[in-house]
Symmetry: C2
Subunit: 432 residues, 2 copies
């Protein structure tokens, strides 16, 4: 299948096999739903008006694609998502498609991505962050609690997670101020107040919830699998010194809630389907509610082979330098295990809710997904390729960029980028 509507380079993240959803606006139009193809964004409400999604049962396409967020579309469920995907692929590939004949010029239904502004793809009701990479949990545990207490006893039995702050989730491209806060650099002295001195990124991915479940109604693992709409890249910015001081006993709070960046394009699970792989072997065997082995309807391959890279553009130069090269396939707990666990107590998961995977570190040092791990808590400065700059943590005016893609045969299913620059801390004259 080939896109004949606009040109798509083989190395483009947005091939006809991808078709991720996002929310965009132009100088003349309010935020609405778009789909990325090559360097373009398709206007879904205009395509709806031309009848492309006519007679899809249960889809009021013009209404739903005119919204400034994807929540309502996410709520519709996989059968409808698949029909829309199929119609888009037919439209883009078939030169004699009836809707193509209604269009004189591609710009009637599309715009260059470089000329639109992207927004958060959904109104995020709740945001949860898991801790699902064994390598990351082990690395961090060693630094925070020593080698003997690195992996807590519960870690191999359940996907550990915590509630995050939805109000501080921002779309890629949003700059963030270095947070102020309490930290205690010298444990023999009282805490001090000021800008975080150990600001870090965390390489994560995150998934959006499709149809919701009511409070009190847990999901089966089969239902969990069907209710994941799609994925984005995520940078879970972390102020390690604030976090280390505040996190006992109730977990991360202000060390995280100053900002969390996500990429704007939501790649659907249908687009990721060909890139399924086995997740790492689980020992001990998880409790039955977390197991897929008893189910005949589930694909045993619960992992996804998604190449992930993190680059830094240090304030000293104008080049990006590689920091991390990792892959989602390293993640110990699968997406569906995370979701089924989250809802097993009856917790309601609503359409548009966001779940982060936690930092995705792999087995080798190059795959460590945070500066905390790469510099081993600041002990070993990180060299940045051709740059003279070194880093233990992020400095003011550094930019961090996460990219990710699945490599198909001659095409890609990619995520675009999740980018953010750290601005100097806000001056708070009134607290000194």
């Amino acid at each position: 299948m080939k896109c004949t509507f606009v040109e798509v380079a083989p190395e483009s993240d947005f091939s006809i096999y991808n078709l991720p959803y996002g929310v965009y606006s132009t100088s003349s139009s309010a935020p609405q739903v778009g789909v990325a193809i090559g360097e373009y964004v398709l206007c879904m409400s205009m395509l709806s008006k031309l009848g492309l999604f006519a007679e899809i049962n249960g889809l009021d396409a013009q209404e739903i694609f005119s919204k400034p967020q994807l929540n309502e579309f996410m709520a519709l469920g996989r059968p409808i998502w698949r029909q829309v995907r199929q119609r888009l692929q037919e439209f883009l590939s078939d030169t004699s498609h009836p809707v193509r004949k209604l269009i004189q010029n591609t710009n009637e239904v599309s715009a260059l991505q470089s000329q639109v502004q992207m927004h958060l793809p959904a109104q995020i009701g709740d945001y949860t962050d898991f801790y699902a990479s064994r390598e990351h949990a082990t690395n961090v545990g060693m630094m925070f609690r020593g080698k003997d207490n690195a992996l807590m006893p519960n870690w191999t039995h359940l996907p550990v997670g915590y509630h995050g702050r939805a109000s501080s989730v921002v779309v890629s491209g949003t700059s963030l101020h270095r947070p102020n806060g309490q930290r205690r650099p010298d444990p023999t002295q009282p805490p001090v107040f000021g800008p975080s001195a150990r600001l870090d990124y965390e390489l994560e991915m995150a998934f959006f919830i499709g149809p919701s479940n009511d409070l009190g109604s847990p999901l089966t693992i089969e239902q969990a699998e069907e209710r994941i709409f799609g994925m984005v890249l995520m940078n879970d910015w972390s102020a390690r010194d604030i976090q280390a001081w505040e996190y006992v006993p109730l977990g991360p709070f202000l060390g995280k809630s100053f900002g969390t960046s996500i990429s704007p394009w939501v790649v659907t699970m249908d687009a990721l389907e060909p890139f399924r792989v086995m997740q790492p072997a689980q020992d001990p065997e998880p409790l039955p509610y977390l197991r897929s082995s008893c189910s005949t309807s589930l694909d045993a391959r619960a992992g996804y082979d998604i190449n992930l890279n993190v680059h830094i553009k240090p304030h000293e130069d104008d080049q990006y330098h590689l920091l991390t090269r990792s892959n989602l396939k390293y993640m110990y707990w699968s997406l569906r295990q995370q979701l089924v666990h989250h809802a097993i107590n009856g917790c309601s998961m609503r359409s548009g809710d966001l779940c982060g995977t936690g930092t995705i570190s792999g087995p080798t040092e190059e795959s460590f997904g945070s500066m905390l791990e790469l510099s081993w808590s600041g002990k070993n400065p990180i060299s940045l390729g051709s740059s003279k700059a070194q880093r233990t943590f992020i400095q003011d005016n550094d930019t961090i960029r996460i990219t990710g893609f699945c490599q198909g045969d001659g095409y890609r299913v990619g995520f675009g980028e999740c980018i953010g620059t750290i601005l100097p801390a806000v001056k708070l004259d009134w607290v000194n």
Copy 2:
């Protein structure tokens, strides 16, 4: 000042000095904003239509009071809240008020509370729970970590808090199923799955955020004080066994997110103003950003004298029995300290966001705000007054009721009740 519009008993929670806001519906009308007075609820959109709130600058009363949540009203800020309060008091007390003359019968603008349905007062974007009672933190710390590690080193330096789950916040009267989950009753054995065996209540209060702050814009302590709209009672239901197993290192998660109940009427800070008291002395002195001593515009009395009671109706009989008698004034960290800390890293607090205080335990055993503390982790069964029943934790079909009020001179400013019944766990045949 006396309400002459409807009769209000001296022991009523809803005197003319209170006037709390809620969202209600009737068999014939959709959810909209109401105000409680005596046994009645005032229809705010109808009063708007009659011109009671005319010419309040910046308030489109008919629009804002017809909404099914208070978020837009909360966003307007204290000067407007105060004008609305004043107009209501004039209307209710003055028999010759011009709007009174437009009304033939009280039921044109009011309904009996017993005949309406209450809803969540706001669309809660984010819900945070603090841990601001020293007595509670010490009690729980002793049980979870032993006497020497009871209060963590950070506790006296900052109001410890964590992000909670907004989707599981429910209005008083909503029954909840006992959650299923992982727990490890025998630490020498692998974890097991099933209904929580240590289900608890937590006596809390919570406050709603008024005007929001942008991401990256911390609040001063003066701003924090002005941005609290009002308070409700809260029961932070807790599955102690699930919590104990899951909470390291990232904090409470599924042990809490199966349900959190709040009372439907939001009592404004203006109504609570006469009941301010000094908060407990703070030693060590907090860092400047958490201090009011440097400010001339702040009332030094940052605490509130609010009597709080918890009763249980055990499934064995039909009577309520007292469990806890506490008071918000015991709380170590004030509301404004909680809010200023929450936003100090730049975290955006949005109108309608909810912040819980954490369990409000006092110095004596009768004031312990949870069964975990009252039964000392299940060791000492709690006698229930005249009932033959005893409890260490909540049993199926038990009902927990929280009430609270400020006692004025011949009147009360009360909160109504926060009530909930625990139903048996959902049967999950597919996981065994």
